[in-house]
């Protein structure tokens, strides 16, 4: 009886499974690219920016005649919501890679979601180009992983160099610095890099403190900043946390020079929440819409203009590299003359391009032996006229820093 009931229930399981399997797989004539990003949960902001950029890139490619080497095949985006849960990210990747015929994939912009997807891409032999910044991504020796953005560890050195430049230009004499960071993959890799480089740059790290993402009271954190006597603060935060820290600092009358660690300090919602007070804030960015290599090339500048017209905000740090990632996949198909993921991967592994690659600072995408775009570096932005403008390093800057 018991065995019978066990097996009967198994029948229920199998039937339910059959339902799941009943997926229609339409015969596509076009070439498909998988878009994996969080479209629900905590990280939905980032995912939406990525989706905007990918949609625009697909439009541009198709308008220009599709993949010419494949007889003008049009590209179709297979949009997949990884949700903001790493467990779901792995299983959604598993789903799209095993049920859809895709030439490659882009995503995600969140390191914690990207890392569980990479082994799935590797085993499925689908090249994936990510715009996450975590340092581990290309250290895993995966052959199908490509990282187009700067690494988190570069952020710190750029921020520290910028502070040095400020000290020299304005004679600020800042030596004591504090780092507060969100306890996530992105936070840890960015913050540790500041820690590592601070000493060699002659800076004194007086506080190195983590806080949990989405915390609701920053007063103890700000008290620590105040007590540390830091003259400059490097906060690594997403928008809500960034705003909370800054507002609490205002209330408690703590005012070191703030050099933001990307993400929250760069997004349109930050300007919306801070109002006119946003102008003057500086932050490191893995990408910025007006860097010299972009604004000096009309064709590239028009991408950012069209993005702004279509989606109502400037093109963000997440959007830019995603746009490049989609165009890179298309370009790799042209080079490989094939939509076979294995051949697309081969083309990507030696990818070197300064045309669409010009969209990444400093004006080139060059994939190295580990799958990383070794040419890239971060920039510093300052909010001026309600937009983030590139102010550092000099080779990318289009505006000067305002005190």
């Amino acid at each position: 009886m018991k065995l019978g009931s066990w097996l009967t229930s198994t029948a229920v399981v199998s039937a339910a499974l059959g339902l799941a399997i009943a997926i229609s797989q339409g015969a596509e004539k076009e070439v498909q690219i998988a878009f994996l990003n969080p479209l629900s949960g905590n990280n939905v902001d980032a995912g939406q920016q990525d989706l905007n950029a990918a949609t625009l890139a697909i439009e541009d490619i198709n308008k220009a005649g599709g993949i010419k080497a494949l007889g003008g095949a049009v590209i179709k985006l297979v949009i997949v919501d990884t949700t903001s849960d790493p467990k779901n990210a792995a299983s959604t990747a598993e789903r799209v890679f095993s049920t859809q015929k895709v030439a490659g994939a882009v995503g995600t912009g969140i390191s914690g979601l990207t890392l569980p997807i990479l082994p799935v891409a590797e085993k499925s032999r689908i090249p994936i180009i990510t715009n996450s910044v975590n340092d581990q991504i290309t250290s895993l020796k995966y052959k199908y992983t490509f990282q187009v953005t700067p690494k988190g560890s570069q952020f710190g050195s750029t921020q520290v160099q910028f502070l040095k430049a400020l000290n020299e230009t304005y004679g600020l004499g800042i030596k004591d610095v504090a780092v507060v960071y969100e306890n996530s993959g992105y936070g840890v890799s960015t913050a540790s890099s500041i820690k590592e480089i601070a000493a060699s740059a002659g800076l004194n790290l007086v506080l190195f403190e983590a806080y949990p993402h989405g915390f609701t009271d920053a007063s103890s954190l700000v008290t620590k900043i105040k007590a540390s006597g830091a003259k400059a603060l490097f906060p690594v935060a997403y928008t809500t946390d960034a705003k909370l820290i800054i507002n609490t600092m205002k209330q408690m009358d703590v005012s070191p020079v703030i050099i933001g660690g990307g993400a929250g300090f760069l997004w349109p919602v930050f300007a919306k929440e801070m109002g006119p007070a946003v102008n003057g804030f500086v932050s490191v960015a893995s990408w910025n819409w007006d860097s010299k290599s972009i604004s000096s090339v009309p064709e590239l500048a028009s991408i950012t203009t069209r993005y702004e017209e279509k989606f109502g905000t400037f093109m963000t740090e997440h959007a830019g590299p995603t746009y490049v990632a989609v165009r890179m996949l298309a370009e790799a198909m042209e080079i490989a003359k094939s939509a076979d993921p294995v051949k697309v991967r081969e083309a990507l592994s030696t990818f070197d391009n300064d045309k669409i690659g010009g969209f990444m600072q400093p004006g080139r995408v060059k994939i190295d032996g580990t799958g990383w775009n070794g040419a890239v570096h971060p920039v510093m932005i300052q909010w001026q006229d309600d937009k983030p403008r590139t102010v550092f390093p000099a080779m990318d800057a289009v505006r000067t820093f305002k005190r």
């Binding site: 198994t10 989706l51 890392l115 569980p116």
Partner: protein, 330 residues
């Protein structure tokens, strides 16, 4: 349907489960059923303390994480096979269960539940804090070095599927035995009335602790298998309150305190998650999660005893009754 017919149908279904990875070549389908197995296993484990003992624990992800991290870290840092590392993880999880259980079982009802949430959060923060050892928020990716049973690394999903199936069957048999054994009856007595049970000489703290420790070991074993199936773990993924809630939801939806409830619950919840994400995931508003939530609410409101209660009146199915109905407190 007569008995022979039922056995025939059941044998057919059993064969379908066994042959599934042979018939389908799509890793995603195998992965999905595998996740059903893992959640069913964790649900069965959770049910020992949460269902039979009625001690609502929302901190089980801690044991899952201990299992996952032990096996992964021992392999990555010391090249110890996860077959050994997994056992170490289960033992450590048992230890953690004793440490958490001893003080927490002095509390009852919502207070116990809150204490387990707190314990789970402490564990998650500890995993984040000791980054030198655990990788902190960066997590630990498992580099893939080709198929090897000793390192539990397979390019195909099928071996993981059979391992998860084996684990599920083993845990199912164990729980089924426990249901009828003394401990199952003690637990049922505790569920019905802890004070009455104590007055009859049941050492309630000890019984609860044994169930909790066993439950922790089962959850840890599932954690080990999960880590090697997915190939990446981080505190937010494996030690989160979300996961603890998911484990409990599986049992609550299926039927709390029943043998088949967790299996049915895992099937429904995992498939529902996948189906809503598959069909609504590309909509930009998180519609999949809204529908998923709504469906769960409907299930819980319409069937507070879980979906398994749908089968209660089916005379032929001989599905399990609530344990409470066969309690003999002696």
């Amino acid at each position: 349907m007569n008995r022979t017919g039922r056995i025939f149908l059941a044998a057919l279904a059993g064969a379908a489960v066994l042959l599934f990875p042979v018939v389908t070549t799509t890793p995603y389908y195998i992965h999905t059923v595998l996740m059903v197995f893992l959640f069913a296993t964790m649900g069965l484990g959770w049910n020992l303390i949460g269902g039979y003992g009625a001690q609502l624990s929302l901190g089980h992800s801690t044991f899952f994480a201990i299992g996952a991290y032990s096996a992964v870290l021992l392999m990555v840092n010391y090249e110890i096979s996860p077959l050994v590392g997994g056992i170490v993880g289960m033992v450590l999880a048992c230890g953690a269960a004793v440490v958490i259980g001893l003080p927490c079982f002095r509390l009852r009802g919502p207070y116990f539940c809150l204490a387990t949430i707190a314990a789970g959060e402490i564990a998650r923060i500890l995993f984040l804090h000791f980054q030198e050892f655990t990788g902190g928020a960066n997590g630990v990716p498992l580099p893939f070095h080709g198929d090897d049973i000793l390192t539990l690394q397979f390019s195909s999903k099928a071996p993981y599927y059979y391992l998860a199936l084996g684990l599920l069957v083993a845990v199912f048999v164990l729980v089924r035995w426990m249901e009828k054994a003394k401990i199952g009856r003690y637990l049922a007595a505790i569920r019905e009335d802890q004070d009455a049970a104590e007055s009859l000489g049941v050492r309630t703290d000890r019984v609860k602790l044994i169930a909790y420790v066993l439950s922790a070991a089962i959850t840890a074993a599932a954690g080990v298998l999960y880590a090697f199936t997915v190939g990446y773990i981080d505190p937010d993924g494996v030690a989160s309150l979300n996961l603890s809630i998911e484990i409990a939801v599986v049992v609550i939806v299926g039927g709390i305190g029943t043998l088949w409830g967790p299996v049915l619950g895992a099937t429904v919840v995992v498939l529902l998650t996948e189906l809503t994400n598959m069909y609504l995931g590309s909509l930009r508003s998180g519609a999949s999660l809204v529908l998923y939530g709504l469906l769960l609410i409907v299930v819980v409101v319409a069937r507070p005893k879980g979906l398994i209660s749908l089968f209660d009146r089916a005379p032929a199915a001989s599905l399990p009754k609530q344990v409470g109905t066969r309690v003999h407190v002696a």
